[in-house]
Every structure is written in structure tokens, then in C-alpha cells.
């Protein structure tokens, strides 16, 4: 296996590959480091292309001792060319939608959870847990059940009902916490210190986060082993945003793909925009915020990877923007009307920022823009409850005609 150790992103202290997530010297985040020297890019490419039709095809780049398995393998979600969306936005850029709602529990979280749970099993854990804004809750409950592990899922008690029901159904211990996501996260950080459990996004976070790299790998493969020119991605904790970059960087380093690192545009909701605010202020310090937005899956007021996300947006010539709740709703509708993809509020945020970039003239003619749609619209139906049209008629043609004012075909 190529995974070598865990290394602190701040002070570079090194740790063994265990259930550690922060540096005991400086509290910095730990990240999995690999030794890819001696990897033959042609051999790696062959193993990918003959691998499974999901994320385990990228096992050479994931942190396992042995072969990872998961009966609920995520990945290889569609990458759709969205010409009608580009037309609606008035841009000559090539817009691609990576629809990651097409995963087993309908969000990108299946990727990170599949990796974390496979690692939890490898490390000998019998119980997994998480702090979640909803999508992660669905994924942990489902993958834990499929893997035969016990699970505890902690969520803010005021979460969307759809996400609560779609978590409980898998037979987990679903715990509603009176507080916001950051309160849930604090509680789980404390519990992770005391319980012999694998909290996927706390003590297993270095492994969990690796799962997001597979979004970068798939994008490259689906574009015919080419890099996009620009990426538009949501930012909550900043983990997805920074790991897509790392995925591209690894393949550039190894020589599996050639070209330039894409421009990274991050997307946040105005009602929870600590990273966009830091970017706008020219700082890397993300002052925490109390979230107030319909985009609950992005409502992390104290983002763990915020400073790195800001640095990455700057270094790649991108930006981090935010959009209002109305722009989020409009983004959901615009994506659905032009591509047939119905996304949740996080996708509305991402499309909203894409629309802003188009309006500012920042999308260049012909450039390939990949927009990461991370979740499913059916999970956040309330977001569009006040804006849908529904006409009731009597069951006869005249009634139809009186409402819609057109001839009825005979």
C-alpha cells in the first residue's frame, strides 16, 4: 500500500496510521501521506480501468492495508455536459455537472463514509458514529448497516424531516441534539475522546476526507484523462474543496494526467459564509458564524479546513463567493429546468455561485467548468415549497382548456 503515515498539515509532525486526527504538538489537522515513488503511471491506469465501477477502482490512492470492500460501493456518478444551462447563463464556457446525488444514499458523503467505514473495520472498530448536518447521517447509517457495524448518528434536532426519516430507516441510533451543527460537532469531539468508537469525521477524519479525492479522479477519467479548467464546488468544512485539489495534484505528480491545476471557485450561503468572508477580507482566519440559511448541509459556522480552502482559492486564481437564500432557490430551479437534475440546497448554492461567475464575465469561452452537485433535491423539498405551480382541474377537457387556454388534441 502507498499510504505511509499521518502528517500534521501545520508543523509536519508525523504519526502512525491509527485513529488520530489532530497533532498533539500544535493541534493542526493530520493528513494521510503516501509514497507514490516507483508507481508506474501506465500500470496504475490499467488497474483503474480494469477495477470495479466505483471508488474502489482507485484503491492505489486510498489509505488501506488490504483490499477495501463495501457492499454499497459509491462512485462513478454521471458527468453531464450542460449546454442548456450554459445557454441560460449566457456563457460560452463548457459547463459540466458532476451529479453526485447519484450515489447510494444520494449525496457525495457516500464516498467519504465508504472509505471511513472500510478503515474503521481495518482498525478493528465495532461501532461507528458521526456529527452530521443530514447527508452524512444517511450515509453512516446505511453503510454501517450494510457492513454489519453498530452506529450512532448525532444531528441538530431541527434537521429537515426527510433527512431524519432517511437516516432512522437504516436502524441506527439517531440522536437529535438541541443546538446547531457546531454544537453537535463539539459534543462528538468530546465523546470521541471517551468512547471506543470510530467517529468518521472526528477521529477517523484523515481517512474519511480521502474519499473526496475520488471526485477528482472520476472527473479526470470522465473528461478523457484530462483536467477541467475550473471547478465550482460547495464549501462547508472545506474538506471536499481541498481534497478535490489534492486528487488532481496527486495525479499530476505521478503523471497520470498532464496540464495545469484548475481554478477553484468555492460556494457558500450568505447565512453561513465564514470562508467567503475571510476570502473577501484578504485573511485566512475564518471567524466562526452562527448559521442562518436554508442550506443546512453547508451550515458549518466553524469550518475545520477553512484556512486551507481560502489559500487554495487564492493560489489557483479562484475565489470564494456566497449567495442569498433566494439565489439558492433560483439555482435549484435553474439546474432542474436546464439539465433535469434536481439538487438539494447545497447544489443551489453552487449553481448560484456559477451564475454569479457567469454574470461577472469570469467564465472564459471554451473553458471546461466542472460543477460539483453534492446532494439530492428530494431531501430538501421545503426549500422550494413556496415556489411551485400546481393547477387542479375537473376531469373534463373543457376544464383543462379553461385553465390552460389551448385546444385539446382529439
Amino acid at each position: 500500500m502507498a499510504a505511509k503515515n499521518l502528517k500534521c498539515k501545520e508543523c509536519e509532525a508525523e504519526y502512525e496510521l491509527g485513529a488520530h486526527f489532530f497533532c498533539a504538538q500544535c493541534f493542526g489537522p493530520l493528513e494521510v501521506r503516501y509514497d507514490f515513488s516507483g508507481m508506474d503511471p501506465e500500470g496504475a491506469k490499467r488497474r483503474i480501468q480494469t477495477g470495479s465501477n466505483g471508488i474502489w477502482r482507485y484503491s492505489d490512492f486510498l489509505p488501506f492495508e488490504g483490499k477495501a470492500s463495501d457492499p454499497l460501493e459509491p462512485g462513478m456518478t454521471p458527468l453531464i455536459k450542460a449546454d442548456r444551462l450554459a445557454e441560460r447563463l449566457g456563457t460560452e464556457a463548457e459547463i459540466w455537472i458532476k451529479n453526485d446525488a447519484a450515489n447510494p444514499t444520494h449525496s457525495f458523503k457516500d464516498r467519504v463514509v465508504a472509505v471511513a467505514i472500510a478503515k474503521a473495520k481495518e482498525l478493528g472498530f465495532e461501532t461507528v458514529a458521526c456529527a452530521s448536518t443530514g447527508n452524512l447521517a444517511n450515509a453512516v447509517a446505511a453503510h454501517a448497516s450494510a457492513a454489519g457495524l453498530d452506529s450512532y448518528v448525532f444531528v441538530p434536532a431541527d434537521l429537515e424531516e426527510q433527512k431524519l426519516i432517511a437516516t432512522d430507516i437504516y436502524g441506527t441510533n439517531l440522536v437529535g441534539v438541541n443546538g446547531n451543527y457546531d454544537d453537535v460537532n463539539r459534543l462528538c469531539t468530546q465523546l470521541a475522546d471517551e468512547k471506543p468508537w470510530a467517529f468518521v469525521n472526528v477521529n477517523l477524519r484523515p481517512y474519511y476526507a480521502e474519499g473526496s479525492k475520488t471526485l477528482a479522479y472520476e472527473t479526470v477519467e470522465q473528461l478523457g484523462w484530462k483536467l477541467p479548467d475550473r471547478v465550482v464546488s460547495p464549501i462547508a468544512s472545506g474538506s471536499l474543496f481541498t481534497k478535490i485539489h489534492r486528487g488532481f495534484q496527486e495525479w499530476l505528480d505521478i503523471g497520470l494526467v498532464k496540464g495545469e491545476m484548475p481554478i477553484f471557485n468555492g460556494s457558500q450561503a450568505e447565512g453561513c459564509s465564514p470562508v467567503a468572508t475571510a476570502f473577501a477580507e484578504g485573511s485566512t482566519i475564518c471567524r466562526p458564524q452562527k448559521p442562518n440559511t436554508i442550506a443546512k448541509s453547508l451550515a458549518i459556522g466553524d469550518p475545520a479546513d477553512g484556512p486551507y480552502a481560502v489559500e487554495q482559492a487564492r493560489q489557483t486564481g479562484g475565489a470564494v463567493d456566497s449567495v442569498s437564500d433566494d439565489e439558492i432557490k433560483a439555482g435549484i430551479r435553474m439546474l432542474a429546468e436546464t439539465t433535469g437534475v434536481f439538487t438539494e440546497t447545497a447544489g443551489g448554492v453552487t449553481v448560484g455561485v456559477l451564475a454569479k461567475l457567469a454574470a461577472r464575465g469570469e467564465l472564459r469561452a471554451g473553458e471546461k467548468v466542472v460543477v460539483y452537485i453534492t446532494g439530492e433535491g428530494l431531501k430538501t423539498l421545503d426549500a422550494n415549497r413556496d415556489s411551485f405551480a400546481f393547477t387542479t382541474i375537473e376531469p373534463d377537457p373543457a376544464s383543462f382548456e379553461s385553465h390552460f387556454g389551448q385546444e385539446v388534441a382529439v
Binding site: 493542526g28 462528538c188 469525521n201 468544512s237 466553524d302
Partner: protein, 90 residues
């Protein structure tokens, strides 16, 4: 009544294994300074140039002190301060 400072397990090597410490002070900064007098190694790990390191979260009664006045946040006798890593979640 002194203030209790809760220490995460990974930092207990710097406190001789103690999971919590007692200290006095009228602000979070004063309480931490008093703790640092007993455990200098702890100071190195969680502060840099007199400020908390960027991935250290400190809570008083469950509230992040950055919503208050940071290290200058006033603290009542008998309160509890919790030090936690900020790199969880997402």
C-alpha cells in the same frame, strides 16, 4: 471557587496525565496563564506568540470564546473551560 479546565486525552502528557486542572482568574486568558505556570509544555502546544493557535477551540460553558471576547472573555468562579481540537467535522 476555582475554575476547572478540561484537557483532551492527547494533551494529558503535558499535564502529567491529569484530565482536568483547577486554576483561578477573572478572564479565560488569566486562567490559562495560571495553568501554564504549572504546565509550561501545555503553553507551547496550544499558544503561539501569546495567542491561541489557529486550530485550538476554547469553550466556556459550551460557548466558543470567539463569540465572546476571546482570551479576554470574563469568567465566573466555578465555571468550566474546555479545550478541544478545531479540526473535526464536515
Amino acid at each position: 471557587m476555582p475554575i476547572t479546565v478540561k484537557i483532551p486525552s492527547q494533551l494529558r502528557a503535558a499535564t502529567g496525565g491529569a484530565p482536568e486542572l483547577s486554576a483561578d482568574g477573572s478572564t479565560v486568558g488569566e486562567v490559562l496563564d495560571s495553568v501554564f505556570e504549572q504546565h509550561d509544555d501545555l503553553k507551547q502546544r496550544i499558544t503561539q506568540d501569546g495567542e491561541l493557535r489557529r486550530f485550538v477551540n476554547v469553550y466556556v460553558g459550551g460557548e466558543d470564546i470567539r463569540y465572546g471576547e476571546g482570551l479576554a472573555t470574563a469568567i465566573d468562579d466555578g465555571s468550566e473551560i474546555t479545550i478541544l481540537p478545531a479540526v473535526a467535522g464536515g
